[in-house]
Point group: C2
Chain length 103, copies 2
DNA sequence: ACAATAAGTCAGAATTTTATGACTACAAAA
DNA sequence: TTTTGTAGTCATAAAATTCTGACTTATTGT
């Protein structure tokens, strides 16, 4: 039987959605790198040691769908795609810095 | 073969540890409630609808081991145990409020 | 037309997290 | 000493997350 997500997923804690969005095995690092410079898939794959395509792909899509990153197709020589941090993404930087400071 | 955690778990993102500590299915809600008042196991079990003993137990221990909550045994009539937020725990409140604000 | 490179997707396996229900530990009241 | 209430633990099952390697798509250079 294929499994389904039964739970309501309507957590009562307002911060939970954002916490879930930012947590996970690779998303914190992806976000941190995106703050510094635009990201490209293949570079990420090398930069983030141990990560695999599938996971990065899913993580990037989630961050994009949440509006923290935006996908930009660059029609150049060998065709590139960049993931840039958005204004919404930038609004999370202070929280991130706080979290780093408190670590 | 019994499975083992091979990965180094030394994430390069400083915020990751804290994010992992605060995320999960029940920890954000537990933390939020702990900010308001001391927690007791049995109350939590009723307050947090859908949660089970095992998960709450693990979550409370993790938060305690991380120094965000402290366990206090109250030697009274039927013996109670309280989980109180610590100073370290309080230091995370601003981040939490920020996360809620940005949600 | 053909090969090469970038950016993925897909099915299935492995690992981690969460859930269930039975059982344990301790103190106090009867 | 047996019972009761609070606070858990334990083994096992179910669900969610992450990994692996093969395959796809789109664009460009030869």
């Amino acid at each position: 039987m294929t499994t389904k997500n039964i739970t309501d997923e309507t957590g009562t804690c307002p911060a939970q959605g954002l916490l879930k969005l930012l947590s996970g095995k690779w998303k914190p690092e992806i976000f941190r790198l995106a703050v510094e410079r635009p990201l490209r898939f293949s570079s990420l794959l090398h930069q983030i040691q141990g990560a695999n395509k599938q996971s990065l792909s899913v993580a990037l899509r989630e961050l994009e769908e949440a509006g923290l990153l935006e996908k930009v197709v660059i029609k150049q020589k060998p065709l590139h795609i960049e993931y840039n941090i958005t204004e919404k993404g930038k609004s999370l930087i202070p929280v991130f810095l706080q979290l780093e400071f408190l670590s």
